[in-house]
């Protein structure tokens, strides 16, 4: 396996070459908060949080409604038991030359986790999973989106969160 891509360097060079003078400042912290699971995984309730822009297919012509009703900041939720064939991704920020987003479970692993519930590896899935639309404002993510996701996780008595950035 060759070395992993250094995206921070690569994108900085790329956008400089495209004429953008000011490089994006990626978030950085010296300290890292750390929580330990309070109970065995086999008794834990799990949710997924993703930036894959996962969405529920709407009947043609239906522009309103759906998951955006629950949008706060860039945070939204969808029922975990939504049939997988009803889900898709609107995400445009992925490597379209190398791959595709045709298989929801490669960025929103809901079926794989439901299998882990059936196997008894984890206790249950939370009733809702969550999405966060990619934002430029780290401040907004910290002040609005993250607290909203936390609130919803607490409402659903979530024990464990699996995050899948795309």
């Amino acid at each position: 396996m060759s070395e992993h891509v250094k995206y921070i360097d690569r994108t900085r060079d790329y956008y400089l070459s495209q004429g953008y003078a000011k490089p994006y400042e990626w978030a950085h912290f010296d300290d890292i908060p750390f929580a330990r699971p309070a109970k065995p995984l086999s008794e834990s309730r799990v949710t997924i949080i993703s930036t894959s822009d996962v969405a529920i297919k709407q009947p043609e012509g239906n522009k309103g409604g759906g998951i955006n009703e629950h949008l706060v900041g860039n945070a939204y939720s969808l029922p975990t038991d939504t049939p997988i064939d009803q889900l898709f991704s609107k995400q445009e920020h992925y490597d379209k030359y190398a791959t595709n987003l045709d298989d929801v479970n490669t960025y929103f692993p809901v079926t794989r986790l439901q299998e882990k519930v059936e196997q008894g590896r984890i206790g249950s899935m939370a009733p809702r999973c969550h999405g966060v639309y990619t934002a430029y404002s780290q401040k907004k993510t910290i002040e609005v989106d993250a607290p909203e996701i936390l609130r919803r996780c607490r409402e659903d008595e979530v024990d464990i969160a699996i995050l899948t950035p795309v």
């Binding site: 790329y14 912290f29 890292i32 699971p37 490597d95 190398a98 479970n105 989106d145 607290p147 795309v166």
Partner: protein, 125 residues
């Protein structure tokens, strides 16, 4: 995404991030990271390879059980089946990351952010 993980951790909910862009997540700093060295878009495994995807979940779940210290990274032992050439071509002029509509959407989003910021400054004056 890493910022959300950090907020959950700070409030007592353990997290594991499964990501392709290892350097970005590690720069921010999260408690547990599973690095899957695949193109952007497929952090949880090769499309339609259910066995691999299941293994990625196992790595993530095991991390939740055994990680003793925050900032831990586990590298999934998988290589992209079509080879590693994608690593050379991502974000190069030959393969513009966003084109056409995708580029327009990104510029619109950027503009909305700038406008909001400008509005805020004005209202604070």
């Amino acid at each position: 995404m890493s910022l959300v993980a950090r907020h959950l951790e700070a409030n007592g909910i353990p997290t594991v991030v499964i990501a392709t862009a290892r350097d970005i997540v590690e720069r921010c700093g999260v408690s547990r990271l599973v690095h899957v060295d695949f193109p952007l878009g497929n952090p949880c495994g090769v499309p339609f390879d259910q066995e691999m995807q299941s293994s990625v979940m196992d790595i993530a779940l095991t991390m939740l059980e055994i990680t003793e210290k925050p900032g831990s990274t586990e590298v999934a032992p998988f290589t992209w089946p079509a080879g590693e050439d994608w690593k050379k071509t991502i974000f190069t002029e030959e393969q513009p990351f966003l084109e056409g509509k995708a580029y327009d959407h990104w510029m619109e989003a950027k503009k909305r952010y700038k406008d909001r910021k400008a509005e805020k400054v004005t209202s604070e004056d």
